[in-house]
């Protein structure tokens, strides 16, 4: 049933005349430009990577082309020419070599290109299959995802650029006017200093009321009639305290006081618990290369060798040799040991 409903929504996204009406290029509240993206591949991809491409497109909904088709003859220039009038600001390019797969994140038309090596990945179907109760509500992909960046505080220029890139991929949120009901998904990027790997995760956000017994909560959330055979009176259903999982009690820090009503259960000015359930693709990335242009130009950062011709540039990044970068990292580690313990979180 869910799959069919998902199928029905696709033509709405694809049809061009409706797009300019439904998807404004500029946020009416903050006045900023809404970022849009293309997810496509270069070269021939095997089946799992094609599916990963589709999962990434879903992740980037609603501001992406879900049914983008590319041919062998298509040039990167072709995508660039189309991106201009459509207001596309970012490219996600998947490619595969004999050694491993790569994901390039680029800003159009001339922006920098970050190349990530995909060490491991799991598809959305794999993750759904691994869960007891996979969750996929109707409105999950109608709004764009939030982004949480964790561990990107070392101040290394490549990491700064990565942070800015990913922050700008998703549209900004106005704290005053945003509706919490539109916050349905969250993307987490966690950087591990020791291994230099970035964990890419995608979760769906669920809110549960706190202070209500388990039976009543379940009764209200689902429309099923409870089983009262073992009870002598209706009041027994309410008075008997149903067992709750220990994790719910432990996560007191995860409770939130809402400013507006969300759904049928979570009311304003009452506490609700935030529950996250993983959806969609899971990736383990490693930053490999940063190029100044769109898949071309000066190499500003390279994991596997010194970047040549580094000089002063107008970009936010300042040219530094790999050895200097390493020294800086060591100094920071030595000077501030607590940084490794406390991992800060950045929110858009």
């Amino acid at each position: 049933m869910r799959k069919k409903k998902q199928g029905f929504r696709r033509p709405v996204v694809i049809k061009k005349p409706k797009q300019p009406q439904e998807q404004p290029s500029v946020d009416p509240i903050t006045g900023k430009k809404i970022p849009k993206s293309f997810v496509f591949s270069r070269g021939k991809l095997p089946a799992p990577l094609k599916q990963l491409q589709m999962d990434l497109r879903k992740l980037m909904l609603p501001y992406t082309a879900l049914s983008l088709r590319e041919k062998k003859r298509n040039n990167l220039r072709d995508f660039l020419n189309v991106a201009g009038p459509m207001g596309v600001t970012h490219f996600f390019i998947l490619s595969k070599t004999a050694t491993s797969s790569y994901l390039r994140v680029a800003t159009t038309p001339q922006g920098p290109t970050l190349t990530f090596k995909i060490h491991e990945y799991s598809l959305a179907a794999d993750i759904a299959r691994s869960q007891l109760h996979p969750r996929c509500p109707k409105d999950l992909f109608k709004n764009s995802a939030l982004i949480v960046l964790s561990g990107f505080v070392s101040g290394d220029p490549p990491l700064q650029l990565t942070t800015n890139m990913f922050q700008n991929i998703f549209p900004t949120i106005d704290v005053k006017t945003v509706k919490l009901s539109t916050c349905q998904r969250i993307v987490l990027l966690n950087y591990n200093k020791d291994t230099k790997l970035i964990d890419f995760r995608h979760y769906s956000i669920r809110l549960q009321p706190v202070g209500v017994s388990r039976r009543i909560r379940k009764l209200v959330q689902s429309h099923q009639v409870p089983d009262l055979r073992n009870l002598q009176d209706v009041s027994d259903f309410v008075t008997k305290a149903g067992y709750g999982s220990e994790s719910e009690a432990d996560e007191e820090a995860a409770t939130v006081t809402l400013s507006s009503d969300i759904g049928r259960v979570n009311r304003a000015s009452t506490k609700s618990a935030v529950k996250l359930q993983e959806v969609g693709p899971r990736m383990t990335l490693q930053l490999v290369k940063i190029e100044k242009g769109l898949c071309s130009g000066e190499v500003l950062f390279s994991e596997y060798g010194k970047a040549g011709g580094k000089g002063k540039s107008d970009d936010e990044m300042q040219g530094e040799e790999d050895s200097d970068g390493d020294e800086d990292e060591e100094d920071q580690d030595g000077d501030h040991p607590e940084d490794s313990e406390d991992k800060d979180q950045d929110l858009d």
């Binding site: 939030l146 949480v148 704290v175 979760y203 935030v274 406390d342």
Partner: protein, 334 residues
């Protein structure tokens, strides 16, 4: 008489040879000779004399015809007839063979006598020739058919020998083909496996349970969501009690919008600054501690600091970029 008998017998043999060379009919007559010999012996001597005389006369008249036909056909027919004669001799008695051997040195006189006898036999047995011909033809045809059949069988035996090696070759070929097919299938299977391995490289099936790393990631994401929701709650609840129609409330709304703006500006600038890590730590600690202690006081402190910033640089706040830079500088000062 005995001498005459001996002289007559070899002469007959010789005449047979010559006539067969000349005419087919003569060959038939020659075949018929042995029974004639038996009859003549039984008859009176006078009759024999008469026969000899007639034959002599006919001989003299036939000599010219034989000479005319011999040069044209003698050689090829001779060869064929010789082979036929040999076969006939084999079939007939051995005595005839010995006589032929004696005929190796022919004499003219013997030849003449033989011709006479042949002439007599032809006159006497004209009717018999017609009767014997079909039998002879049947026999000859039978012989020929038999020869042909035998030769065919012999020839057929050769392909019989050939069939063996062909069959064995085919068997070997089949075995080779099967072996090749198996080898090819193995190679193809291995190639497919390699392709699958390459395609599935990096593709990991997630575990059904949440390990410590996954739990850590979920907790980090949850903290982020909680922070965001709390910020949204603060910003939006502050505006609820105010009515924009009133002038006082409008002023307060404007102030709070500015405060929210500054708070927004403050957040992205913090991670961007790499040099002021200590400042970050202090701000993070304070933020972490504030909600636990006293929320109102935290708000009071934040608002006061923001108000100071606002008072110090009112002009630069107009543009976003300038606002960001001012925030950076203010944080540096702090």
């Amino acid at each position: 008489m005995a001498e005459e008998m001996t002289m007559v017998e070899p002469g007959r043999g010789k005449r047979k040879f010559f006539k067969k060379q000349g005419h087919k009919k003569s060959s038939n007559k020659a075949k018929v000779m042995p029974p004639q010999h038996g009859q003549k012996k039984v008859k009176i001597d006078k009759k024999m004399k008469k026969l000899f005389r007639k034959r002599a006369r006919e001989y003299n008249s036939d000599d010219e015809d034989e000479e005319a036909t011999v040069p044209a056909t003698s050689e090829p027919k001779g060869l064929a007839s010789i082979t036929n004669k040999r076969n006939d001799e084999d079939d007939t008695e051995s005595e005839d063979g010995s006589e032929d051997e004696g005929a190796a040195g022919p004499q003219k006189t013997w030849n003449k006598n033989a011709t006479d006898m042949n002439n007599h036999s032809s006159d006497d047995e004209g009717e018999d020739d017609n009767e014997i011909q079909p039998g002879i033809t049947k026999f000859t045809e039978g012989c020929r058919a038999f020869k042909m059949a035998f030769k065919n069988i012999m020839q057929k035996s050769v392909p019989d020998d050939m069939l063996g090696p062909i069959l064995s070759g085919q068997r070997k070929l089949v075995v080779d083909k099967l072996a090749e097919e198996e080898a090819e299938s193995k190679v193809k299977g291995e190639a497919k496996k390699e392709k699958k391995m390459l395609a599935e490289k990096g593709h990991v099936k997630p575990a059904t349970y949440l390990d410590s790393h996954e739990k850590f990631l979920i907790s980090v994401a949850t903290k982020g969501v909680v922070k965001l929701f709390n910020a949204v709650n603060k910003a939006q609840t502050a505006q609820k009690g105010l009515n924009p129609s009133r002038t006082k409330d409008a002023k307060e709304i404007r102030k709070r919008t500015k405060q929210a703006f500054f708070s927004e500006l403050g957040k992205p600038s913090l991670p961007a600054i790499g040099t002021t890590t200590k400042a970050k730590e202090s701000t993070d600690r304070v933020e972490d501690e504030q909600p636990a202690w006293a929320p109102l006081r935290d708000n009071y402190m934040l608002t006061s600091s923001r108000l100071k910033d606002w008072d110090k640089m009112p002009d630069k706040n107009v543009s976003d970029d300038m606002g960001k830079t001012s925030e950076d500088s203010s944080s540096d000062e702090d």
